[in-house]
Amino acid sequence: MKTSFTVNGQAASLDLDPRTTLLDALRERLDLKGSKKGCDHGQCGACTVLVNGRRINACLSLAVTHEGDEITTIEGLAQDEALHPVQQAFLEHDAFQCGYCTPGQICSTVGMLKEAGDGWASLVTEDLTADTVLTDEEIRERMSGNLCRCSAYPQILAAIRTAGGLA
């Protein structure tokens, strides 16, 4: 089935088996191997990409449903030689060990910071009608969809604080 979308600013047009997930289309058809397949069931977050600016699990989304969408993967965050501020913060804080979850962590962070900037609340937000303040507790709750089996969470938290201008 013919499907067209934009990936990291480039138009892509693919003839897809409807069973193809967005994750498999990115990795196997477009050779963008940054997005990782961890659990393949939406439980680990390693496949997180941005679709029209919002973070989703690419493993649970059929590629044919993304006609016309603007998709951003880890490969699309840097501008020329300049790393995205979230990528730079992860480097500075050594916010990974094996690195397998890192592309998902970084894409999720970019999406999460936008959600917070848009004033979205989380479960740990005391006053649902107040402005969003990204405390450490808020960051942890909002990032709970991304697992790190090396448990680099303290550094990931520190990196997100820096990237979010909170440190």
């Binding site: 977050g45 649970l60 449903t65 959600e115 479960l123």
Partner: protein, 317 residues
């Protein structure tokens, strides 16, 4: 996944007609549960009718002073809506306590109601399950699972409904609006929308074949406090092992039954002047734990009493 065909009609009438006409066709919304179950071949649709882009994604004020949540609103969208946060905090809390940010960005209001149980025996295709194969038997009964029903279970099924959102909607007395092929529209009360398992646990709601949820309607917010609290086995991103929604004098319990469980005995006790602990004790008199899930009695007694105390439910009765 088994092979299937896919199409994305532009209007509700076409979507309804397609699912009515094509054997094995299913609606696809956010897909966060359906696609996962298709990977496991627990769900095997022959044709997917993508309804995610139908014009059903608005949140509108109703003339009665409530809100109409379009079926295709995302969980994130509903939880972020200022009207929901200000007037239906129990609903915002319930949604935000479910899944992860990524999943809530895809999952829809209608899809949340129609998600399947997370009973491990439903997922384990090497074990019998009356939901997967009616008449096969239930491996959860006598199995090792602890997150099973204490209310309304049957000899065919002891699974629970996993939604947080639906528990809050039940306490808020929401209504489900639907349409079906012939253009027929229905309105179902949330309380009666999901079914108890009986001897047909594979039939989980009162929806008819090829009937589509088009909206969930919230009545004006009730007088009194609201809260949703959830107990789970890790601090975030896990299904409930027990949850409580309170909205005014209405109480609903989650992860204790095949449907969001309206705690009518507790509500009645509160009306008659019972304390929060007494009200929960009245409700839990009707519970039938199975030996593996006995912990839910104490959990729900404490969680429920805490929620009723926090909201002051019953204080002015």
């Amino acid at each position: 996944m088994k092979p299937f065909t896919y199409e994305r009609p532009g209007d509700v009438a076409t979507a309804l007609a397609l699912v009515a006409e094509i054997p094995g066709a299913r609606f696809l919304a956010g897909g966060t549960n359906l696609v996962d179950l298709m990977k496991l071949q627990i769900e095997q649709p022959t044709h997917l009718v993508d309804v995610s882009r139908l014009p059903l994604a608005e949140i509108e004020d109703t003339a009665e002073g409530g809100l109409r949540l379009g079926a295709m609103t995302t969980n994130s969208q509903v939880a972020a809506d200022p009207r929901v946060r200000a007037r239906y905090p129990a609903l915002a809390q319930a949604i935000l306590s479910g899944a992860s940010g990524q999943l809530r960005n895809k999952a829809t209001t209608a899809g949340n109601l129609l998600q399947r149980t997370r009973c491990p025996y439903f997922y384990d295709t090497t074990k019998p399950c009356n939901k997967r194969a009616p008449g096969a038997g239930c491996a959860a009964i006598g199995g090792i699972s602890t997150n099973t029903a204490i209310f309304g279970a049957s000899e065919a099924c002891i699974a629970t409904h996993p939604s947080d959102m639906a528990v809050a909607l039940t306490a808020l007395d929401a209504k489900v609006e639907t349409q079906s092929g012939a253009g027929e529209a229905r309105v179902l009360a949330m309380e009666g929308f999901h079914r108890l398992p009986g001897d047909t646990p594979h039939i989980e709601t009162e929806l008819r074949p090829a009937e589509m949820i088009t909206a969930v309607v919230l009545p004006p917010p009730p007088q009194g406090g609201q809260i949703y609290r959830k107990a789970r086995e890790r601090a975030s991103y896990a299904f409930a092992i027990g949850s409580v929604a309170v909205a005014g004098g209405k109480v609903a319990l989650g992860a204790v039954a095949h449907k969001p469980w309206r705690a009518e005995a507790a509500e009645l006790a509160l009306e008659q002047g019972a304390s929060p602990a007494e009200a929960m004790a009245a409700e839990l008199k009707g519970a039938r734990p199975d030996g593996h899930n006995d912990f839910k009695l104490k959990l729900m007694a404490r969680l429920g009493a805490a929620c009723l105390t926090t909201t002051g439910a019953g204080d002015d009765q």
